[in-house]
């Protein structure tokens, strides 16, 4: 393939992924709408219930956890998951072709960071979904990922070019790939933390953990918090590694391993906030919604580092290519 063809193919795959992801989002939304129409979830009663119908007693078996009849919207959510897998593979192809086109790791400017970041978010979501049912989370992953990709292809788009000398190092692959996986993890954690806050509020209002309404399909706020904790516990050491790898690289490129450059400062702030999150999880009175707020704050710090420092601040890390 010629260079132009490669470029077109990469862009086409990114657009195809966005289209597929839009469909996935619609199916996830449809699944939510279907769940909403039914006032209360078929809250599996512990005892066998007898429904009177015209004087005839009808015995209904309590639905088992696994072979429960299809909840409304279940099929739509399944389609949404399949489409998300497809979108992930298309985006993976787009990122790989971008790298082939540029002849290097596809991490030289903000467009490339962004499409790979979206890949990281989808990857963490799909990876986590292998061992547990995450269909309820699909809508809240596809919407931000689509917004993110939309921003990438419109505002941040840059033609592939060679790297500036400062990025020509194998540390680019190590440092950036770790940071991108962390972005996926922190985004996932922020989504579950945010949902646990919403769900927790509804649980308090309804006075039960078995709530009705649009959040009925989700796990309880406490289980959402546990899930958040798991993802942070995975991402935090990796983020530590990304920061340390960045420090080693900085020592090699700029002569100091830590210089409080704005990018380094915000990486540190993000690290400290997630450290606070982990401590909050083992402090009485902080385990619940407060910890969730901290997880959301950590993600916001990550975004400030990504957009704010790359574009607006005079930093050694201004590699946006814009």
């Amino acid at each position: 393939m010629t260079s132009t063809e490669l470029a077109q193919a990469s862009n086409a795959l990114v657009y195809a992924s966005m289209f597929t992801l839009t469909l996935a989002m619609i199916f996830f939304a449809a699944s939510f709408a279907a769940g909403r129409r039914r006032p209360a979830r078929a809250a599996a009663p512990a005892t066998t219930s007898v429904e009177g119908a015209g004087g005839t007693a009808v015995l209904t078996r309590p639905p088992e956890a696994d072979d429960r009849p299809l909840e409304p919207g279940r099929r739509a959510a399944n389609i949404g998951m399949s489409l998300t897998w497809l979108a992930f593979l298309l985006l993976l192809g787009g990122v790989i072709l971008r790298g082939v086109w540029a002849g290097r790791a596809p991490w030289g400017n903000m467009y490339e960071f962004s499409i790979t970041g979206a890949l990281g978010v989808l990857g963490v979501f799909l990876g986590m979904s292998i061992r547990r049912d995450l269909r309820w989370l699909g809508l809240f992953v596809t919407i931000p990922t689509l917004l993110w990709l939309g921003l990438a292809v419109t505002v941040l788009y840059t033609e592939a070019a060679q790297l500036v000398p400062a990025l020509k190092s194998y540390w680019l692959v190590i440092h950036v790939s770790a940071a991108i996986i962390c972005f996926g993890g922190f985004t996932f954690a922020a989504a579950t933390a945010g949902l646990s806050l919403v769900r927790g509020r509804i649980e308090r209002r309804q006075g039960t953990t078995d709530v009705t309404g649009w959040t009925s399909r989700m796990p309880t706020s406490e289980r959402l918090q546990t899930l958040t904790n798991r993802v942070v516990a995975f991402s935090f050491p990796l983020w530590t590694f990304a920061v340390v790898a960045g420090a080693i690289w900085a020592e090699n490129a700029w002569g100091r391993y830590w210089g409080w450059d704005p990018k380094e400062t915000w990486a540190f702030i993000t690290w400290v906030i997630f450290a606070a999150y982990l401590h909050a999880r083992s402090t009485a009175g902080w385990r619940g919604s407060r910890a969730s707020w901290i997880a959301v704050a950590g993600w916001v710090a990550f975004l400030i580092n990504y957009f704010g420092v790359n574009i607006f601040v005079n930093s050694l890390h201004s590699y946006s290519g814009m």
Binding site: N109, T158, E159, A160, A161, Q162, V164, P165, A166, K168, S169, W171, T226, N229, R230, A233, F234, F236, P237, T240, F241, V244, A247, I248, W249, E251, N252, A253, W254, G255, R256, Y257, W258, G259, W260, D261, P262, T265, W266, F268, I269, V272, I273, A275, A276, L278, H279, A280, R281, S282, T283, A284, G285, W286, A301, V309, V313, N314, G321
Partner: protein, 531 residues
């Protein structure tokens, strides 16, 4: 600053600290103890972490002296009222300000106060056998009861063997004639946690070592120019308290050539593509010269110090002649870039002519002139070079003894002679028979940073250990398991298995199931609950 993700309930040392603060007992010793306990509580650590995050923010918004002193001066000039106020608060030296130090030192004291006692506790815990089996195992959240064919002792032997092979710590005993196995695993979690926190202290020590024994200097070297590692040769130099500046490593080098290349394609036009400084260096005077090169990401290592390429620009070569045609100046002067296309400012000072001459210049590597913007450069390479010069005559102010900025011309005691623009090779005959200036050629300069940090290896080692400890502390799950076996009727053995998670994320149910599967019994629980 204690174990993340360990449940509070399982940790007796933290009981009471998380809740309301106990009232201080009377007496100053009691008060001190109370304050110490408050400082080392998890809640204080949490608050200090937030403070640390917030305190770090202003340094990323305002320019910092440590990173960019020129922009700090600019900021102070642009904001004459708020600037000095912010300066007094240390907001241009955030990371070396007393209030920032106060936050992180308190955090580290809190950390030490929390971690050190836990080292002792953990040491004792590792030497204490697991606790005896509780009376009623089936009351625990994860428990199971199975019927096995083998006799009780054989069952417990098999369970203990299985647990030991998985590195559980075993204790066996008997209560009221019923033998049991008690096992615990995941001590590494706390070990990792403690190692992580102790490594953070080592990192702080490494930073301090670098600060005390390290040094860092910057120097601009022109093509053809040289440098030897003595204090006077540096443009800026800073060293720790324990550094003797007269005993720096005696290496020297010359800059033979500096190659630079910029993107000429459509995408990212003008972005740098290549920086390469060819140098000849000697490790010490009299040593054999060695040819090498310095690139970004490839510093030169000499005598423990590293020489980094951190910037570059143009140095313009001028020849100034007086009215008789005699050469009074023949040198290149450093022009500092003002934008990404290397529109650069510089000055030429000629004290040896009579009267002394001074020139200010605006260099445009690829010149464009526009009525609104004046002269500017459209590309960083010297494709179509032009220098706009202003000539002055009079007192350069170089005899007053006051320190002078080599990049600025003080024209307060000088008279303007005229303006002109020059391309390489052109000569400008100054009016009133004041002599001439020739734009003889274009060289380049590089800005080098030479740094020595004896703490960095220790910092790296501590960081690697910290990551290992952190990973272990977050992935290892501490949990207990108990097995009881008693002879039931009909020659079978009734086995009770129960497990307890001592950390978040553990799945005690899985441990129970695995062990039950290993023992291979029939589930007794379902029959029982059916009765």
């Amino acid at each position: 600053m204690t174990a993340p993700a360990d449940s509070t309930a399982s940790d007796p040392t933290r009981a009471g600290l998380g809740g309301e603060a106990p009232l201080p007992p009377l007496g100053s010793a009691g008060l001190l103890r109370w304050m110490w306990r408050q400082l080392t509580s998890m809640r204080t650590a949490l608050i200090l972490l937030f403070l640390l995050a917030i305190a770090s923010v202003p340094g990323s918004v305002l320019p910092q002296r440590g990173g960019n002193p020129r922009r700090v001066e600019q900021w102070l000039t642009d904001n004459p009222t708020s600037g000095p106020l912010l300066d007094r608060l240390g907001l241009f030296d955030v990371y070396s300000s007393p209030w920032f130090a106060a936050v992180y030192l308190l955090l580290f004291i809190s950390l030490i106060g929390c971690v050190l006692p836990r080292v002792g506790q953990h040491w004792r815990a590792m030497r204490t056998p697991p606790p005896a089996a509780p009376r009623n195992l089936l009351r625990l959240p994860a428990s199971r009861e199975v019927d096995v064919r083998q006799p009780p002792d054989a069952v417990l032997d098999s369970a203990a063997e299985w647990l030991r092979s998985r590195r559980w710590r075993i204790r066996r005993g008997e209560t009221n004639g019923v033998p049991w196995v008690s096992a615990e695993t995941g001590y590494l979690r706390e070990t990792g946690n403690l190692v992580f926190h102790l490594s953070l202290i080592v990192i702080l020590v490494a930073v301090a070592v670098g600060g005390l024994f390290g040094w860092k200097g910057n120097v601009i070297v022109k093509e053809g120019g040289g440098f030897s590692n003595t204090l006077t040769q540096y443009d800026t130099w800073g060293g720790g308290r324990m550094v003797d500046p007269s005993r720096l490593a005696p290496f020297s080098f010359t800059l033979d050539d500096f190659k630079v290349d910029f993107e000429r394609g459509e995408a990212q036009r003008g972005a740098p593509r290549l920086f390469e400084a060819d140098i000849t260096y000697r490790a010490e005077p009299g040593a054999a010269p060695e040819d090498t090169k310095i690139e970004v990401n490839h510093p030169l290592e000499v005598e423990g110090a590293k020489v980094f390429l951190i910037g570059h620009g143009y140095a313009l070569h001028f020849v100034v002649r007086d009215s008789t045609g005699e050469v009074v100046y023949d040198d290149s002067s450093v022009f500092l870039p003002q934008d990404a296309n290397f529109t650069s400012n510089g000055v030429v000072k000629v004290p040896d002519s009579d009267p002394p001459l001074g020139f200010t210049g605006l260099f445009l590597p690829t010149a464009a002139i526009d009525e609104v913007r004046g002269g500017f450069s459209t590309f960083p390479a010297a494709d179509d070079p032009l220098v706009l010069m202003a000539a002055f005559r009079g007192d350069l102010g170089m005899d007053t003894g006051a320190p002078q900025n080599v990049y600025r011309l003080d024209t307060s005691n000088m008279a303007k002679v005229g303006l002109d623009s020059l391309t390489p090779g052109q000569t400008w005959q100054l009016p009133n028979d004041s002599g001439s200036i020739e734009f003889a050629g274009i060289d380049r300069w590089v800005s080098l940073q030479i740094a020595y940090d004896p703490g960095k290896e220790l910092a790296l080692l501590a960081a690697v250990v910290a990551i290992a400890g952190l990973s272990v502390s977050l992935f290892v799950r501490r949990r207990r398991i108990w097995v009881k076996a008693a002879r039931a009727d009909a020659g079978s053995t009734l086995v009770q298995i129960a497990a307890l998670a001592k950390a978040e994320g553990a799945d005690p149910g899985a441990d129970v199931t695995e062990l039950a599967d290993h023992l291979g019994g029939q589930d007794a629980a379902s029959e029982r609950s059916a009765q």
